[in-house]
């Protein structure tokens, strides 16, 4: 863990001195000191600069930069520069250029532009990582290795097509197994030879954003593409490790980024790092969920906040300024959810090209007398005062929400029953309900151990992987509570339907059979009518989108449909299974229903909120050495108050003791240290 290397959270960000002259570098060092900056990410996009041809490498400027920073007390997060290949390489070795989903060979330009199966790209990206590691293996200023940058994209070139066939052979063994997995007797797709298989693209099986004629092929392509890019990462990772076995190596992730199966990736990262860019309309609960996902990638291990903007973005439609104190508030929100660094994109704002209107610690005006710089400096000082008290602290949750990339891919490539279904939105609906009540949540993968949780929620668990139904059964058998929804238990891992009645492998656990699935027009709604009151729930609630026509096969019917020809059929059921319970939510409810249901279920399980706070005031906790650190964060613009209810707390930011009713100013933050109960 890098966090143990310094007595405080690292504070800094992306730094592109290659765009500036020496005098500016000196001025930067002066201002970094003012701002309390102690880490800088170098070399993110310098490949073309440091490698002007196949055989030449120029590291002199980089040596100088790393040394200068180190002499000023600033560590380097050293990027390998492979997120954009040099122009000379594209010209000489066109295989580095991608082919897009429309079959168009790309030309040099942009970034994230390298084919992951290009022999040239693999050779030279591995080589530069090797050269860098060899050169800087003993430099005391290098703290973290940052492979490439924001990996993503896809390619449909001939090298990828050939690699896909190899990947399939490894996965399935025989062409007959492929035919079976993809149900190729549908629409006459029977394959006799591996070479008959082509990549699914807009020239073959795909059209529009999310449409495929063969979901199985598309799903395997998504897996293959994620794996291909992961292979590129691993080449560089191993090249670094060869020289520096105990180096800390990461690559910056992007939260709910659809193309890459980050749970699989995280197994190969020493620490997770990610770039957080909420838009103007992103709910704060969504940002929190993304942080929790990042923490969940390595089972709760703290992560690096690798990038956030000090104020403005440039690639949104409308790039509003972060209002005063919002940058600080969101920085602490990341820490509350597991970050052990606070870092920015970028330290100095570019003078030209497409990110020149992206905010930076040092703005175009070039001096420190700006609102943005003042806010950055104040936070820098605060973090120095905070020291190492929260470093390496963990989050403790009794509630887990399951998230699965392959399920995401499969749900949204589905042809029918509705275009309205968005997997991440559904996950967020349940997450947001816990968030509103300050109930701590872990985001887990299908590989995670369930035994430490009291409650597992798996919205839209469409794909049930081998063994997972049994794992859930064991969890419930042993007393756990499981909640799932409509459009669950439908297919296996190759997107073949589990026959014999929905929800397939979950049918026994849930004690129900879904005979039909109705899809509603957006303006068409149905009702959830409670059979009896349950906690705060009584009367009726709106639902819609999809409506399962359910039959109980042992489950208690908690609520029924209120309208349409399936009025009176079950919509909400609870099945007692062993020592636990399994809930099924057969349609998409309004938020108040989810709130009432989860409040009741958590109450039953004795799961407590971190604190009771007014709406818009978040409380999230980390634990360390027997102490609890409650981060109270007021996302509202006005002062709010909450009651500590007998808790004695110490606010680390103001060094004051608090008890009873506490005020927190608009966009304010408090870090309450309390002895763990």
């Amino acid at each position: 863990m890098i966090s143990s290397k310094l007595p405080k959270m690292f504070y800094g960000g992306d730094y592109n001195p290659e765009q500036w002259d020496e005098a500016t570098h000196q001025e930067d060092l002066r201002m970094f000191k003012l701002a309390g900056i102690d880490i800088a990410t170098l070399n993110v996009f310098s490949w073309a600069l440091i490698q002007p041809d196949e055989v030449t490498y120029n590291f002199e400027q980089l040596d100088q930069l790393i040394n200068n920073l180190y002499e000023s007390g600033i560590y380097t997060c050293l990027a390998t520069s492979t997120a954009a290949h040099p122009a000379w390489m594209a010209k000489k070795y066109p295989d580095v250029l991608r082919v897009d989903a429309d079959g168009r060979k790309r030309k040099f330009g942009g970034r994230h532009n390298s084919c992951p199966n290009s022999p040239t790209y693999r050779k030279y990206s591995e080589a530069i990582a090797d050269k860098l590691a060899e050169r800087y293996k003993d430099h005391p200023g290098i703290l973290v290795w940052h492979v490439s940058n924001e990996y993503g994209g896809d390619c449909y070139c001939e090298n990828c097509e050939a690699a896909f066939r190899v990947w399939l052979k490894k996965r399935y063994g025989t062409i007959d197994q492929v035919n079976k997995a993809w149900n190729t007797n549908f629409w006459g797709h029977t394959f006799y030879d591996w070479d008959e298989i082509v990549l699914p693209s807009n020239l073959s099986e795909h059209w529009g954003d999310n449409n495929s004629t063969f979901q199985g092929i598309s799903l395997d392509y998504s897996r293959f593409n994620s794996d291909s890019i992961l292979d590129c990462y691993l080449l560089e990772y191993n090249a670094i490790k060869k020289h520096i076995p105990n180096s800390v190596v990461t690559t910056n992730l992007m939260g709910f980024f659809k193309q890459l199966d980050y749970f699989k990736w995280a197994k190969h990262m020493d620490i997770v790092s990610w770039d957080s860019y909420p838009g103007l309309t992103t709910p704060v609960s969504f940002t929190a969920m993304a942080h929790d996902l990042m923490r969940g990638l390595k089972d709760g291990q703290p992560f690096m906040l690798m990038e956030q903007t000090p104020s403005q973005q440039n690639w949104q439609a409308y790039n509003s300024l972060k209002r005063p104190n919002v940058m600080r508030l969101w920085s602490y929100q990341s820490v509350a959810h597991g970050a052990d660094t606070v870092m920015f994109f970028q330290l100095r704002r570019s003078v030209g090209a497409c990110e020149k209107f992206h905010g930076a610690v040092i703005e175009h005006v070039g001096h420190e007398n700006t609102r943005v710089f003042r806010e950055v400096s104040q936070l820098g000082q605060e973090l120095q005062q905070l020291g190492d008290r929260t470093l390496d602290a963990t989050v403790e949750s009794k509630v887990a929400i399951l998230f699965d990339w392959e399920n995401w891919w499969a749900v949204e490539k589905s042809s029918g029953p509705t275009v309205s279904l968005n997997y991440v939105e559904q996950v967020h609906k349940y997450y947001a309900s816990f968030f509103r009540r300050n109930v701590q949540v872990d985001i887990i993968s299908v590989d995670s151990d369930l035994s430490k949780y009291d409650l597992v929620v798996a919205p839209v668990l469409y794909m049930v992987k081998p063994g997972y139904a049994a794992k859930l059964e064991e969890f419930v058998q042993n007393g756990g509570t499981f909640v799932t929804t409509f459009f669950s238990g439908i297919v296996n891992e190759t997107d073949l339907v589990t026959l014999g009645g929905y929800p397939g492998e979950l049918r026994k656990l849930l004690g129900i059979w879904a005979e039909e699935i109705d899809a509603l027009h957006p303006e068409h709604r149905n009702k959830i009518v409670m059979k009896d009151s349950l906690g705060k729930l009584n009367g009726s609630y709106e639902c819609g989108m999809l409506c399962d026509l359910l039959h109980s096969e042992g489950a208690d019917v908690i609520a029924e449909y209120g309208e349409d020809f399936y009025q009176g059929m079950p919509v909400i059921t609870r099945n007692t299974f062993g020592k636990g319970e399994a809930w099924y939510i057969g349609s998409d409810p309004e938020d108040s229903f989810i709130d009432g249901l989860l409040e009741q279920i958590t109450a039953d399980k004795g799961i407590q909120p971190v604190l009771d706070t007014p709406a818009g005031v978040e409380a999230s906790a980390r634990y360390k050495d027997g102490k609890q650190f409650i981060f109270v964060m007021n996302h509202n613009a006005e002062t709010e108050s909450y009651d500590l209810k007998g808790l004695e707390a110490h606010d680390l930011l103001t060094d004051t003791r608090l008890s009873g009713s506490v005020d927190i100013e608009g966009r304010g933050v408090q870090i309450l240290e309390v002895n763990k109960a």
Copy 2:
């Protein structure tokens, strides 16, 4: 006619046993019997399976399937499997792959993926039809031959380009005639050599969905493409006929499908069959019109309903369930309009790929205890009871609506005067008015005999083909009533304007001159002001979209514009011509005006509705052996009643006698047998 081969309407649908194992096949047979199924469409997408390479054919499984079905009393509708070529063929002979309108060579994938001018596709599709016909020519279980499946699409490859030039040479003889037909002196398009002509695509004359710089070229491409695909059909048709001269051969059409000129196609089909997939918002009058079009393709001959879904679709945005009894209601609607079979896509629901969420008679649960299966079985039993009473019965109409594919292509490729003009919508506006009053309508082509009709309506008869104006004049001269609208009589069959004043060749018949055509913004409206009352019409009505600035040249002015600078100019005219009348509707009226006008015109001609029924209750009739069968269909959810007004009727479905006021339950159907007046 296949309908004479069995004592009842065939009942069944698409069956894909190649996706299932032997045990499932046995279970299928059991359930088919339960459902009263007696026809199954086999082999629709099995090409890759039955022909693994250029020279090998494996028919053993198909033999077995046909035999098993036949032994269970189920006939086979045998498809030729050519709607999706095998992957090995695409790999070995890339000429089978299409080039799309953006010039992109397709790769293997999807279906309907073969270039219609591919030598390879033509060779092997003809060959498999030949092989199948040879093998099964004496099999008593084969009832119908189903060539390919839902033909469609277009191709812009070099083979198509070469074939287009041959097609043009045949049509025009000389390059000078082409230059004249396309008015190539506009925009410097003069051609000197056939090889200078390229296909109109998004790389040459087209952009967006409906835009062309040269309408004449585009129109000929549409004709050519329809003909090219028809050639493919004919190769298979003839291969089958070579072995089985008295076979019944069809291909399944798709109603108002723009790309193929079905009137031309139907000349080469032994029976018309089609796939009916109304969407959630499709008006029932539109479905009725599509059935009438299908019946009209072969001048009133009954057709096969080849596909409909038992309940759910998968390719709509929101795939709602068919509400209880709706499948039965819509099945009878097709019969009322001329269907002699009721068939489904599909008999067993797929386990994987893009149609796994499309409904089926046997759902994923696999047993018969489902709402869908019960409804299917009940209809199956009902059809057995109904027997052959309505088989081969005809529809008798005194009203015809003209529909012309080439006119459709031409109207919608027009550059100006408005993007709002939709030919099929305009046709439906007039059809729907007759439908609301249960007036029987035939949809006819320009080749149809007009003498059997009292009233011919030709909305937006933009293109007047050689001799058609004279044909209309003769019809009216002899006492017929003709109704047409704005944007009629504008061009000849190569989209060249008929000079000398709109409506061109129809000017004499209509007794008017349209000096200008105003195009209105959607929110801009004008008024139709009646000069005198006419039947129920009086006062004023809204109109819009296009407004012809008319001068009467002998026609009576029935109504004038109420607004704008052409206030007081004629908008509705009636011209007495010989013994008949020719009406012109110079703008796009609100429905109530069309209702009033058509009610008056039909009353004048003594044309009677089948029955008077409340809104939402349809009555449509078929005739046979001196008997009338009135299908009364309540499209509303609630019970309605209507008055038989002295008619004595026998409801075939309940075997009860009816007279006077009759109730019909929500979504109910009655088939009233009455002696023909």
Copy 3:
């Protein structure tokens, strides 16, 4: 100047006799005479006709046409026909075909279809211009040479790519200068060799309509593309001049046409001509501004109205008729703003292809008894009566609005801060305010002399070119008033930010510093709160889109923000600089604020409106020989009145004297001759 060659404004338009037979030509001549037509544009799209292969030219028909027209008293505006290459050329020399921004090689079709860097196109287009000039150099009927037609479009082929490198070498000299100009150290774009540079397209740096990863590359491509097409024009221009040094050569422009830098082009045109096609919703002020731009291209020299439609267009979504008298009204509006000809597209309406629904002087009906022909004839007679009185008259303005094509390209390729910013809309907002008060405006370029103006307005002067800040400082120093807005002074001519604080080079002149730029969601608004009243301005006004967070550095604060965290910061400032003033408008205000501000500023400078008129009545003036000609134009449908306030005027159209209160009918026009004050 061609206008001195005839005693009246030329009246006529595009004529395509090659689409018609000899009899029609004779009828045309008869009708042209009726309409008072004395100029016809010939040969616009006849290349394929007059040059059937590489070596053959057939001019006989053209000879005949020119002679016939001339003998009928009609001059020829002779087009060179190069706006659409022949099909034989595309077949034999594919290099004439463009490659589009998606990398797709075009096929023959459409028009404007030639690659500007095609050696073949350059060779043959120059050759035909040469042949035409040689043949007709002594023909007395040729009045103007019309090179090509409506130049535009772009190409991304290999020839263009090679030419781009040559163009860059010429502009920058070394690859290092290119790297610096484009800031290529951003995203690893460092170039070592010219051949590494590729065109920016959707395959490299671009996506969507206005997005680029490298603004500097995109900007240079826009310059290069405009220059490449200009080179094509110049080849033809010089070929004509070689034979006829004193010929009048033009090409028809298109107003605010983004792709071509018309200020640069106009330097090479003997007279500006343009095609005016306002849409149904185009404000009349926008048309006026376009005319003023065209007049401004050659510093106030009168221009040709080369095309307008007599009534209807065909390529709009809804092609409404021009209401009665609107064609006349808009014709005079063009004259009022500097036109010395009134010309139509087209004289006879095409019979086929995509413009057959575009209006013409002679409609499809073919005779003169149409509303459109009557209006054309009446205007023709009126222009004959008007004679030469307004010919060559100039417009005199004390107000200039700066317009710059390169700024337009740069502003709208910007990534951030908002997608709402539209440069031409912003320019129009200020123009429209002057227009509403009949204040004469010149549209000027960065090369224009400022000393003759009292007020210069430069909305969104994002790019400040070398020396321009000094030029503005000198203007204000000497007493001028300068007004600019938010998002000004940001970058230099290669789109690199001017460091040290916005508005960069304008900071000293404006006396302010913009610390941050907030971008607002469209529904989010702020307020401009006046510190004191200023003329009619007091209280508060709405503003939005972008909000500069300003600090005064000497400027007077006229108004402050009323909301948000920057409430109380300056939004409107005025800086006294030498003898003049420089205003800054820090956000996008509602129109009433702009009206109040500009009214006050013009009043301060003693700038008077041409006349005071009611809303919708435009008054614009031209001056000649000591006389003022005030064009009063009522754009409303109803009669309006205005007061001449002591002015004695003579209406040239009715030959009546006017004074005091004057009525003007709906869509009426008066040309008031008054002695210049």
